[in-house]
């Protein structure tokens, strides 16, 4: 059942890299691997300065449920373990490895099995050990999603091929070029979750991707013989009407299954797990080749870069290196963003590493920073809010430091998609107020 996305906006797509095939970035000479690249508990280093490491070797882990290990993306020597600039803001303890250029693969990197031979428990273990996190940007440890708590029955796996942010085309290229691996990875996930239904949601501005994925599903029906025929037919593609933020997990579920994730809850509360197409690809790699998450596809775009493109990069490569491989700066650049233009994080330096959640690097000549006017109560922010909230109220309450009242207006339900600030004629930095308000509310609750 397809519902309409209520609220949301139609920004210009700017998908000028969509026809550029994924190309390999040149090998980095040095990588900076932060010990926190995921939502959850940071890892502890498992190596020390001077150690020789290989590609895919686990170099950081922690014994906590919500966590994911980190691995070396090159072979070489650990030259430092120290706080380094991180794209999410503050410095994070990172392992710096000088590459020897040999790309020696760790002995633990070997095929784990296949769809037939592995049990669900083994698949989950492989996902965990490979350090896979949500590659759509949120970087939530995927293995955790595969362990629903007692009593929560999962019936559907949704694969997120929406990629609704302007500029970003990494997921699109993956679907066009690596449909086979994505479908295989999806089946692995479906087996791990023991679900009968798998649906891939793709926005209708990506007709080629929709075609290749459907073709691949039909093709794979005959080759993956362990999943019985009736289960194979349960994978299908849904074409989603292009609208931002269709790719938001909650809205994918709402539109595709007509189920609403309860406020304060998770998709598994309503029997659903959502994964990005890139994540499914990483699961395929982790099982079939045994390679943990050490590289990912990144879109480098924006009017500030000479040769935009979609690059497959080693995790830990600095932004500056990748930008150089795309022709360098196209004149004066005011902003560098990790992610998309609506939810991405502006960077103060390009000496930050590409992490697991880096979907794109945008270089914009115009920062879009503009002075704001008073709120004219036009209500446009309320019209476009996909969570049906009242963003103008948050700005007002936060301005007057009324933290508890922001809770009454459900500030914690905001997904920070940016639709409100996008439409505001007074150019009020609504998302900024919301982030500030959320932080103050949290601090207030901690004190109590």
């Amino acid at each position: 059942m397809i519902r309409k996305l209520r609220g949301g906006i139609h920004p210009l797509e700017e998908k000028n890299t969509k026809d550029l095939p994924i190309r390999q970035a040149t090998e980095p000479k040095q990588v900076v691997i932060p010990l926190q690249q995921h939502t959850g508990v940071p890892c502890q280093p498992l190596v020390k300065i001077g150690d020789q490491v290989n590609v895919g070797q686990k170099i950081g882990d922690i014994n906590a449920f919500i966590s994911a290990p980190v691995h070396s993306s090159v072979s070489g020597k650990v030259v430092a373990i120290e706080p380094r600039a991180h794209p999410l803001g503050p410095t994070v303890l990172s392992i710096v490895i000088e590459s020897d250029g040999k790309n020696l693969v760790d002995e633990n990197v070997r095929p784990k099995g296949n769809l037939d031979s592995l049990t669900p428990a083994q698949i989950k273990d492989a996902v965990r050990e490979a350090g896979i996190v949500g590659l759509g940007g949120a970087a939530f440890p995927t293995a955790v999603k595969l362990f629903p708590p007692e009593g929560k029955k999962i019936d559907t796996l949704l694969l997120n091929g929406a990629e609704c942010e302007p500029y970003l085309t990494a997921d699109y290229r993956l679907m066009v070029e690596r449909a086979e691996e994505i479908i295989y990875g999806m089946k692995l996930l479906m087996k791990a979750l023991n679900v009968q239904q798998g649906i891939i949601g793709i926005e209708d501005n990506k007709p080629q991707a929709i075609k290749t994925m459907i073709t691949q599903i039909k093709k794979s029906d005959s080759t993956d013989y362990n999943l019985r025929n009736q289960e194979l037919k349960k994978i299908r593609v849904i074409s989603l009407k292009t609208k931002y933020p269709q790719g938001s997990e909650k809205h994918l579920i709402k539109v595709m299954l007509d189920r609403e994730v309860p406020s304060g809850g998770l998709p598994l509360d309503i029997g659903v797990v959502v994964n990005n197409v890139g994540t499914a690809f990483a699961v395929y790699e982790a099982v079939v080749t045994g390679l943990p998450l050490i590289k990912r596809t990144v879109t480098i775009s924006g009017d500030g870069v000479k040769e935009p493109g979609n690059l497959e990069v080693k995790i830990g490569t600095l932004f500056q290196e990748v930008i150089d491989q795309c022709g360098g700066l196209n004149g004066k650049v005011e902003k560098v963003i990790m992610g998309g233009p609506l939810m991405g994080l502006a960077q103060y330096t390009t000496e930050v590493p590409i992490i697991k959640g880096t979907t794109g690097i945008l270089l914009l000549k115009d920062s879009g920073i503009i002075e704001s006017q008073p709120c004219i109560r036009c209500g446009r922010c309320i019209d476009v809010c996909p969570m049906y909230l009242m963003p103008t109220m948050y700005a007002l309450l936060v301005e007057h430091k009324k933290w508890e009242e922001t809770e009454k207006y459900s500030i914690v339900d905001c997904i920070e998609c940016g639709c409100c600030a996008y439409v505001c004629p007074s150019k009020i930095p609504l998302v900024h107020y919301i982030k500030y308000g959320k932080a103050e509310l949290l601090a207030l609750k901690k004190k109590i």
Binding site: P11, D155, K250, K254, R259, E260, P262, S263, G264, G265, G271, Q320, G328, L329, K332, V333, E334, K335, V336, P341, L342, M343, G344, L345, A346, Q347, T350, L364, S367, G368, I369, I370, Q373, P374, C375, I376, R377, C378, G379, I382, P386, M387, Y388, L389, M390, T392, Y409, D413, E416, G418, A421, Y422, V423, P425, S426, K427, P429, V431, H432, K435
Partner: protein, 323 residues
């Protein structure tokens, strides 16, 4: 030669990093453009009387805003054109024969007491143009209720007359009511803006097209007037076209600042305005109720906002049965 970004100073701000081109001046300009047809009609029907009032109001509005902001040591904001909109709207609610100096006082009151003292744009609880009009009505009742027939011949001749609503209210049997067509096209006595329904609607269509207003307020406002007229066996078209209803429903009640934030709230607001308008027309002391009905509903807007908070995504009561 690659420019190193290390030397480039990057700007950092919170997301989103992309915005629409729409801004406050554009919104205000759209309203001004939408009012131009009605203003031209006023000048057509009332010649020099109309022109001088419009000019006085449109000049004195930003002027008083500029002066008051200077005195209050606030940032000058006349470039957002909101003062011009207030001036033009006020001008359109005035009778053609009002002395310009009274119109000027009305505009100053509208900007200073209707807007500036509350903190400027976005903070005023009442529609500023209507505040100006209300103050003028009680201060100069005679001048504010003197009407003339549209000037049709070449000579400028002001012939006093009664508005259609006057005729009904005071049961003037000798006076002839204009036809529906005359009321629709604007050939009737009334304030500058309440004459041509056709041109007001054309302006309103422009605002709909530009997505500056939605149907919620105007349709509820006009709708309930139509409904009540029908139910009370009154002349439906007459009540729809007469007085300041069309101007009020499409241009005054739709003012963002003084009407509710949510669509649901706006419908309630519109219904209240229409109800109040009919009440004043039928039972109140004035022949026309639009001005005061909107001001009264402006007062209720904060309460309406409080009671029409939308149900959030994932709220407990929104959950349908899960499969």
């Amino acid at each position: 030669m690659e420019e190193k970004l290390r030397d480039n100073h990057l700007l950092v701000s919170a997301s989103p990093h992309l915005r629409t081109k729409e801004n406050v001046p554009r919104v205000m300009l759209d309203v001004i453009i939408a009012l131009v047809p009605a203003a031209l009609a006023a000048v057509y029907f009332f010649r020099w009387y109309a022109l001088r009032i419009i000019l006085v109001c449109v000049i004195f509005a930003p002027l008083s805003e500029w002066v008051s902001q200077k005195i209050m040591k606030r940032k000058n904001t006349i470039d957002d054109f909101s003062a011009v909109v207030t001036g033009l709207l006020l001008a359109l609610t005035l009778p053609p024969t009002i002395p310009p100096w009274i119109a000027a006082i009305g505009v100053i009151v509208a900007i200073v007491l209707g807007k500036a003292i509350f903190g400027g744009l976005g903070w005023n609880p009442f529609n500023p143009a209507l505040v100006g009009r209300a103050v003028l009505t009680v201060s100069w009742p005679l001048e504010m209720t003197t009407w003339i027939k549209p000037i049709t011949s070449g000579l400028i001749q002001a012939v006093t007359t009664a508005t259609p609503l006057n005729i009904i209210k005071e049961k003037m049997i000798e006076e002839k009511l204009p036809t529906y067509l005359e009321m629709f096209l604007g050939n009737r006595a009334g304030s500058l803006g309440e004459t041509s329904v056709l041109l007001i609607l054309i302006g309103a269509l422009y605002l709909f097209y530009r997505k500056q207003i939605t149907w919620h307020v105007p349709l509820s406002f006009a709708g309930i007037v139509v409904f009540l007229s029908f139910v009370l066996k009154l002349d439906v078209l007459f009540n729809l076209f007469a007085g300041g209803l069309m101007l009020g429903a499409f241009f005054m009640a739709t003012d963002y600042v003084t009407s509710p934030l949510t669509r649901k709230g706006q419908v309630i607001f519109g219904l209240g305005c229409g109800l109040m308008t009919m009440l004043i027309r039928l039972k109140g002391g004035f022949p026309e109720g639009v001005c005061y009905s909107i001001l009264i509903m402006n007062m209720l807007t904060p309460a309406i906002d409080k009671f029409t908070v939308p149900k959030k995504f994932g709220a407990k009561s929104r959950m349908s049965t899960n499969k």
